[in-house]
């Protein structure tokens, strides 16, 4: 039995209000959620069905020029510059008048992510906590994604595919942990796509992955894929080799290296492939690998549902391929959310943090709020599930 009502809301309210602060990568997000303290939450396993109402969900992204990635130092500076403004905006939109009375808990990302950006947001979270006398909860970023995905899609016990700029993991729940079944052995899928976007010098707004997706959609010859290695290793996968290879292809194409017979016709010297073809083949190849390990995880745990979370999860082609696989497997179902919840945001941190808080697990001493770059998904004890 899980009782999510152990900690009563402040100020004799019959609902909880949580604010979430996220800043583990180049997105700075602040979200406020409201969640009723209904009787059915006092027993059973209902953490995926909390009737969450989103009062505000503000995000500000640090966008770098084409061909450039975001560096920790500059990203931290961006977060410091915007943090207070975004918090203020989120509070105004949520019509929070007095944070001391109206907010139950401040949730912030404790890790994993880039150290400097995480730290800059944690400083603001600690200050707010002391100014308002509101407790803090440090949240694991991956768990934030999972809990938000479950709440939005109402998927009770799905296999979770977590794909973003920094992480690629297949996760399934078992005995109070989100256990990692398979993951990348080197770079994350989002990192792979972002870096290829840098080679192509395409814009980083709204996101490099989105722009690759649009290019891939315009691919004219989808029947002939460019051959790339398919590197699934057991339950894990590797993507750095694929990236290095396709990077060389793109550079040869731009330089007009006619010696490359894959790219240029032997007789006429005309290019045989386009940038769109490269994007399409890269996506198909990587996503096929993801679908394979996800399917294997489903077979292991006997699941019928897949939940895709993380920034790359907003890719419609990935959702489509995963949907096809689920359909072929005994009427499975794929759950995905749109960019508001897939891409890093404050609301997901608030959601996971509030569950933690309602189980009585919050920061008792500020020394527990030190951020950490390495924080694995299975380190978190998931007390709010059976």
């Amino acid at each position: 039995m899980v009782n999510l009502n152990t900690v009563p809301p402040r100020n004799n309210r019959d609902y909880y209000i949580a604010i979430g602060l996220e800043g583990s990568a180049n997105k700075l997000g602040v979200g406020v959620i409201k969640c009723s303290r209904s009787a059915h939450m006092a027993s059973g396993d209902n953490s995926h069905n909390c009737d969450v109402e989103i009062l505000s969900n503000i995000r500000n992204t640090y966008v770098t020029p084409p061909g450039e990635g975001f560096l920790p130092r500059d990203t931290a500076r961006h977060h410091r510059n915007w943090c207070v403004r975004i918090i203020k905006q989120a509070l105004e939109e949520a019509e929070i008048k007095n944070p001391h009375l109206d907010i139950d808990v401040i949730c912030f990302t404790r890790g994993p992510g880039m150290g400097a950006p995480l730290h800059s947001v944690a400083i603001a979270a600690r200050t707010c906590s002391l100014l308002w006398d509101v407790p803090l909860v440090g949240v694991n970023h991956c768990v934030g994604h999972i809990e938000m995905g479950r709440e939005i899609t109402k998927a009770e016990n799905p296999v979770v595919l977590y794909v973003s700029g920094g992480n690629t993991q297949v996760i399934a729940y078992s005995e109070n942990r989100y256990r990692i079944f398979g993951e990348t052995l080197d770079v994350a899928i989002g990192n792979c796509l972002d870096r290829f976007a840098r080679t192509l010098k395409i814009p980083n707004a709204p996101s490099p992955g989105y722009n690759i997706e649009q290019l891939a959609k315009n691919c004219k010859n989808k029947d002939s894929l460019i051959e790339l290695s398919y590197t699934v290793k057991g339950m894990d996968l590797s993507m750095s080799g694929i990236l290095a290879y396709i990077d060389t292809l793109a550079k040869d194409l731009f330089r007009g290296n006619k010696k490359n017979r894959l790219l240029f016709d032997k007789e006429t010297g005309e290019p045989k492939v386009t940038v769109e073809d490269l994007c399409y083949s890269l996506q198909e190849n990587l996503f096929a690998m993801l679908v394979e390990i996800t399917e294997r995880a489903m077979a292991h745990v006997n699941a019928t549902q897949v939940l895709i979370v993380g920034g790359v999860g907003s890719n419609t082609r990935l959702q489509e391929m995963m949907g096809q696989m689920c359909k072929d497997r005994a009427n499975g179902k794929v759950h995905a959310t749109d960019e508001r919840f897939c891409i890093d945001n404050g609301v997901m941190i608030a959601q996971a943090g509030l569950l933690q808080y309602r189980m009585g697990d919050y920061v008792k001493d500020l020394s527990e709020t030190v951020v950490t770059q390495k924080f694995r998904t299975d380190e978190v004890y998931v007390s709010w599930r059976e």
């Binding site: 931290a76 410091r80 203020k88 600690r126 100014l131 500020l366 030190v370």
Partner: protein
């Protein structure tokens, strides 16, 4: 090298509006560990409505980088206190 003396020192005295704010700043800054404790040391305290930051380091380069990071954090705290304090 390991036990070289931290003889490059600097003390910052940062005034806040109230004693409570200075104390909040101190408590916010204190938890974070120093990445290279053998090269850099910092202690936070308050004197009235002022936050006192005492820094000691092996050379002026490490000192400059460390102090610059602390000031960045303090800027966030000051801005948060200015903009998000509870209205009395």
């Amino acid at each position: 090298m390991a036990s070289s003396s931290l003889d490059h020192t600097l003390t910052l005295d940062i005034p806040f509006e109230t004693e409570a704010q200075a104390s909040i700043a101190m408590r916010v800054l204190q938890p974070d560990p120093i990445l290279r404790p053998q090269d850099f040391e910092v202690t936070y305290s308050t004197r009235g409505a002022s936050l006192v930051v005492s820094v000691a380091s092996v050379d002026d380069r490490v000192l400059r980088v460390g102090v610059s990071n602390i000031i960045d954090s303090i800027k966030t705290i000051v801005e948060t206190a200015d903009e998000l304090s509870l209205q009395q």
